[in-house]
């Protein structure tokens, strides 16, 4: 975080006085010939928590993987801190990817390493720190996600929520300032999910992280999101963008209202009714 706290104050950035952390420009992405999202453009501002919403199959996780640079978009560009990850050479791309901390849906911890070693792994790979210093850093990261008690456990011994929290700690290890989380609260009990939301808010407050969170858990969306972008699998486009409460209360789009009010699909309703 900046000593001046600029990193943690997204409202400054949202006024246009700072460059966005991530810019997506005229993106078309998909698999093979199948287009999942077309002509998508949006910015993620520093210190902001942006949530990507949408039903299953709308391309939320795929969009995240395009942003990370794991998949190449069909057309369009994605800028990380003003530099294109799409056009970057392999070494530049690796540099840009190290700016991004990613937590995958399953936590994606390495099964042969314990929790502490998993969190320490990026530090082992990319820094010259002494082992004791790396251990202290990793333990403090685990402490921040309330996993300090589990440092010596193996991933196979962890619950779903613990895997995700350890995944967040590992994602933060290299001091990246943008964290991308894929369905952090999916499949968790309400208390664990609320704890995870609190962890995300606390990390933003204390460390000024920028978050891009893929989720369709309504309670989490309202708890953490500054702004939400909704993807639609049928029109293959962004159909809504704004504060979650505004989208719920004022959107004129029936698909958005349906999502936020947890209404079943109208076609199916008629068929079953």
């Amino acid at each position: 975080m900046e000593q001046t706290q600029a990193r943690s104050d997204h409202t400054v950035a949202a006024n246009g006085t700072a460059s966005p952390a991530i810019s997506v420009r005229n993106l078309r992405m998909g698999y093979g010939a199948r287009v999942l999202l077309d002509n998508a453009s949006f910015d993620v501002w520093r210190g902001e928590i942006l949530v990507l919403l949408g039903g299953s199959g709308s391309g939320k996780s795929s969009l995240m993987k395009n942003i990370i640079g794991l998949y190449k978009p069909m057309t369009g560009d994605i800028l990380i801190g003003g530099r294109s990850i799409v056009m970057a050479r392999a070494d530049e791309k690796a540099q840009l990817q190290r700016k991004l901390g990613v937590m995958y849906q399953s936590g994606a911890l390495f099964g042969s390493l314990n929790v502490l070693e998993n969190v320490r792994f990026p530090l082992d790979q990319f820094t010259d720190l002494a082992l004791a210093d790396k251990n202290l850093t990793a333990r403090m990261l685990l402490h921040q996600v309330e996993m300090g008690y589990a440092e010596s456990l193996m991933p196979g011994e962890l619950s779903g929520g613990m895997l995700k929290r350890a995944g967040i700690a590992r994602a933060m290890a290299l001091g990246c300032d943008i964290l991308l989380l894929d369905e952090p609260s999916a499949g968790l009990d309400p208390i664990t999910a609320a704890n995870l939301d609190r962890t995300i808010l606390s990390l933003r407050k204390n460390l000024g992280f920028t978050f891009v969170v893929v989720t369709h858990e309504l309670q989490s969306i309202f708890a953490i999101a500054d702004r939400a972008i909704m993807l639609d699998p049928v029109s293959r486009s962004i159909i809504a963008e704004g504060k979650p409460a505004d989208l719920r209360d004022h959107s004129t789009d029936s698909r958005v209202r349906q999502f936020f009010n947890r209404q079943p699909d109208i076609g199916r309703q008629k068929a079953s009714g």
Partner: protein, 366 residues
């Protein structure tokens, strides 16, 4: 640029941190700061953070490491002019929580290694015996009750384990025949006993090498695949799902594989026998033993018993490899690493047991 500089005063020393302290730049700064603390054990250390531009989690760990150190009351470390959000963050960490060293794996002595490995192997043999008992019971039921075995599954597995393995078995069998004939032929020629090489090739291929080499290929290819397939199903809780439906995983997953292995191993061994002997015949032609002469000598040298022993052995090897592969799969722990370990262990255990069983056969059938 980030630096740590010191400015010594009478009763205190000043440590200036400036610039950016990140995961990539922290190592020398951290070391320099610790050296400063170590060099001034009885003086107060004032850390001037006013010129810090940026710190990441490693930088925060560095700051925390400085203030958590056990020093005399009048020689404490004090951080001044730290940004309020960082100061608040540092207050969240209690030095007591980090007092104990990070827990790693306890180092084990050689004797403990041997002891643990022995106990593990004894447990494994016990487990395997129990598992083989369950398999025997399941096979008995399969023979006595109709509809227990899903023959469609058996055929699919047999196709993958048998038909798809034919090219590699043919290659290995052919090369074995060629190598044996050539090596023995070179020695036998010195004694004018080239024709007896045919006896050696025939008996070796039919009784031993046809079945043995096929079994080793089968263990590496199919035994590992069985362990990995069932291991992955175990990790994904598919095995639990099968049990929850009231189905027995042994009947559902293991028995079809046992049948398939017992069925295809003898067939593969026969193919290995044929191409091995053919390879031997090709080599013998270079030693002036024609095909007809080779055939006549072979008919006189081998018996139906040699062939039957080889085939029975192949079936037993197949059963053993499939049982061990399935057992290793069903005892897989959690995670991708466990699946890999199960597959490796299935191959190693299978090959060891094949050689042991081959020895038993050699004793009782000679």
């Amino acid at each position: 640029m980030s630096t740590a500089t010191t400015d010594g005063l009478h009763d205190s020393v000043s440590l200036v941190l400036e610039g950016r302290i990140t995961a990539y730049t922290a190592a020398p700064i951290w070391q320099s700061a610790i050296d400063t603390l170590a060099g001034n054990p009885n003086r107060r250390v004032i850390v001037d953070a006013s010129r810090l531009e940026y710190v990441d989690d490693v930088g925060i760990a560095l700051l925390f490491d400085l203030i958590r150190r056990d020093r005399p009351p009048d020689a404490k470390v004090e951080i001044r002019e730290l940004a309020p959000n960082l100061a608040a963050l540092l207050r969240n960490f209690d030095p007591q929580d980090f007092a104990a060293p990070a827990r790693g794996q306890r180092p084990m002595g050689a004797l403990e290694h041997v002891g643990r490995a022995t106990a593990q192997q004894i447990n494994y043999v016990k487990e395997l015996a129990g598992f083989l008992g369950e398999c025997a019971s399941a096979l008995r039921q399969a023979f006595t009750r109709r509809g227990v075995v899903k023959w469609g599954d058996v055929l699919d597995i047999a196709t993958e384990a048998g038909a798809n393995a034919v090219p590699i078995v043919l290659l290995i069998g052919f090369l074995m025949g060629v190598i044996i004939a050539f090596e023995i032929g070179l020695v036998a020629r010195q004694f004018g006993a080239v024709i007896f090489v045919v006896n050696g090739v025939g008996v070796a291929m039919l009784r031993e090498l046809g079945a043995l080499m096929t079994a080793i290929v089968f263990a590496g290819r199919t035994g590992a695949a069985f362990a990995a397939q069932i291991g992955t199903q175990k990790v994904n809780e598919e095995v639990n799902a099968i049990s929850t439906f009231g189905l027995d995983p042994i009947h559902f997953l293991v028995v079809p594989r046992l049948f398939a292995a017992m069925l295809v191993m003898p067939l593969l061994a026969v193919l290995a026998d044929i191409v091995g002997i053919f390879g031997g015949a090709l080599v013998m032609a270079t030693f002036d033993v024609g095909f007809l002469q080779f055939y006549n000598q072979l008919i006189g040298a081998v018996t139906v018993g040699d062939f039957v022993v080889g085939i029975v052995k192949a079936a037993v090897f197949g059963l053993t490899i499939a049982a061990i592969g399935c057992h290793r799969g069903l005892t897989t722990g959690a995670g991708a690493t466990s699946v890999g370990l199960s597959a490796t262990s299935a191959v190693v255990t299978s090959i060891v047991l094949i050689v042991v069983i081959d020895g038993v056969f050699a004793v009782f059938t000679s």
